[in-house]
Amino acid sequence: MQRYLIVEYQDADPATREVYEDFMRTTGATTVPLWLRTLGHSAALARAYWERAKGTLFFGHLPLPLKEMIVFVVSAKNGARYCSACHAQAVLSLDKTLEFSDLQDFLKSDAGQALPPYYRSVVDFATKIVADANAVDDEDFDRLMDDGFSREEICEIIAVIDMATMFNVYTSSLRIDLDPEYQAIL
């Protein structure tokens, strides 16, 4: 059973269309992704989800590939097929068949220098939060700060983790299909 409705651009009401257009203008994409079209029946919901993504991903001090990596790690941990497929691999120029467990091994191996050193602590932090946000302790913050992250940036990291989780819940519950044309929104 397809669990969701799709509202295409030409069928959308003016308020929804405005959200679609804002998405395309901001990301430079020429089409509207599936996840957003499934929200097209409610301009308010579409706007709420899109603004959350936009505010978290397109502003702030973290580099976009690092945000992509966080979304990938969180989505993979949450088993969110749609989100993890959309993020990380292409942007990170890594092997397309990369699994989450490979990534962990890879980050932990001493030989692994395919990513800047600060990625490892961010990935560990995200993994820990996804497992249990209450388990995060001061040492986890210390580790990020030792890697040069300011408190503002750590807050941003948490916001990205949180946003990814929100999208994971949405796309997984509705079992949104993979978008053949759709790449990461970044």
């Binding site: 590939p65 490979d102 220098q113």
Partner: protein
């Protein structure tokens, strides 16, 4: 599986590095505050070069500005003299590259935050312009030694950072000098007439709001014309300077002392009632009269200079304006002059 090419050869991360550097160069031109600039750089450094812990040292007047970056943030401090590591390298003015851990022969110990367990090496880069060193950066490599691009970016960013901070310091100094020139009397260094009147007006407004008394003292050097006529105008200038010095040394924190006219001075005291103003005026009088004034043109043991003073308070008339209050002090001063000089008179309505 993963083709573990060095991350520094992966295009997307090259772009992250360039983007971070370019954005930061832009930001430091837009920001105006040294602390804000330092903090921004501290959080961004890891994105364009392999470093998170650094120290920038810059001369600032007779002191040094020391900016320490660590854990994503920065601290700016002013110090009178540099620690051993900084002082040594500042004197050498030569780039240095030291692998960690340091051996005993290295002797000097770098600042603690550069010796993080993750630090692999430390480089020291002096920045010079016209043969003169204007800044020095010590920076530690994080987890991996620096590569060529790290070095290039660190040099580029370090120089821009130091230049920007020096520019801001110079502009602050220049602004300070202009403000001094615009508000100070060139001869005595006291507030000039315009400024002391402004202060009086603003303090009067404050006094009305807080319902606390404000008082003024107007004072005039006795027989000043005779000093000028006998010993010359340079001697007169010396007397004015010395009076200013003594008034300032007898003034209390928060008192405003200004040169009102030729040999007339105005002191604004707040909070201060009439009785306290009279005591202050008496202190000023004694401060001048008690010691002979030694000036170059006059014979030893010096000149017996005195001042006459008039005090007036807004205590009983909180709505009084600045001009009226000064006029009252002037009338009291006139009484001091008329009753033998070298004395203090407080304004009373019957004056």
């Amino acid at each position: 599986m993963i083709d573990a090419t060095l991350w520094r050869d992966i295009k997307v991360h090259q772009l992250v590095r360039y983007e971070a550097l370019v954005n930061l160069l832009d930001d430091i031109q837009l920001l105006d505050d040294i602390e804000q600039i330092s903090k921004r750089i501290a959080s961004q450094w890891k994105y364009f070069a392999n470093a998170t812990n650094w120290r920038l040292v810059l001369p600032a007047n007779s002191e040094f500005l020391v900016i320490d970056g660590s854990r994503g943030t920065a601290q700016v401090t002013r110090v009178a003299s540099l620690g051993a590591w900084d002082a040594h390298h500042w004197q050498q003015k030569l780039p240095q590259r030291r692998l960690l851990p340091l051996t005993d022969q290295d002797g000097l110990r770098p600042p603690d935050h550069l010796l993080f367990p993750s630090s692999k090496e430390i480089i020291v880069l002096p920045f010079a312009r016209d043969g003169k060193c204007f800044g020095m950066l010590s920076i530690a490599a994080h987890q991996l030694p620096f590569n060529d691009l790290d070095m290039k970016f660190i040099q580029l960013m370090g120089r821009q950072f130091a230049t920007r901070v020096v520019d801001i310091l110079l502009r602050q100094q220049a602004t300070q000098i202009l403000i001094e020139r615009a508000t100070r009397d060139a001869l005595t260094g006291l507030l000039n007439r315009g400024t002391i009147l402004e202060r009086l007006s603003s303090q009067l407004a404050l006094a009305r709001r807080t319902q606390q008394a404000l008082s003024v003292i107007l004072l005039d050097i006795d027989h000043f014309k005779m000093v000028n006529d006998t010993y010359g105008h340079a001697a007169g200038d010396d007397v004015l300077r010395e009076i200013a010095r003594r008034l300032l040394s007898d003034a209390r924190d928060g008192d405003h002392v200004g040169r009102y006219g030729g040999e007339e001075f105005l002191v604004v005291l707040y909070p201060c009632n009439q009785a306290e103003a009279v005591r202050a005026a008496e202190r000023f009088r004694q401060g001048v009269a008690a010691t002979l004034m030694t000036i170059e043109a006059a014979p030893a043991p010096g000149l017996p200079i005195t001042i006459s003073l008039g005090a007036a308070s807004a205590e009983d008339c909180p709505q009084i304006g600045a001009a009226d209050l000064i006029q009252r002090a002037d009338r009291a001063l006139y009484t001091s002059k008329a009753t033998g000089r070298n004395c203090v008179t407080a304004f009373v309505a019957s004056n």
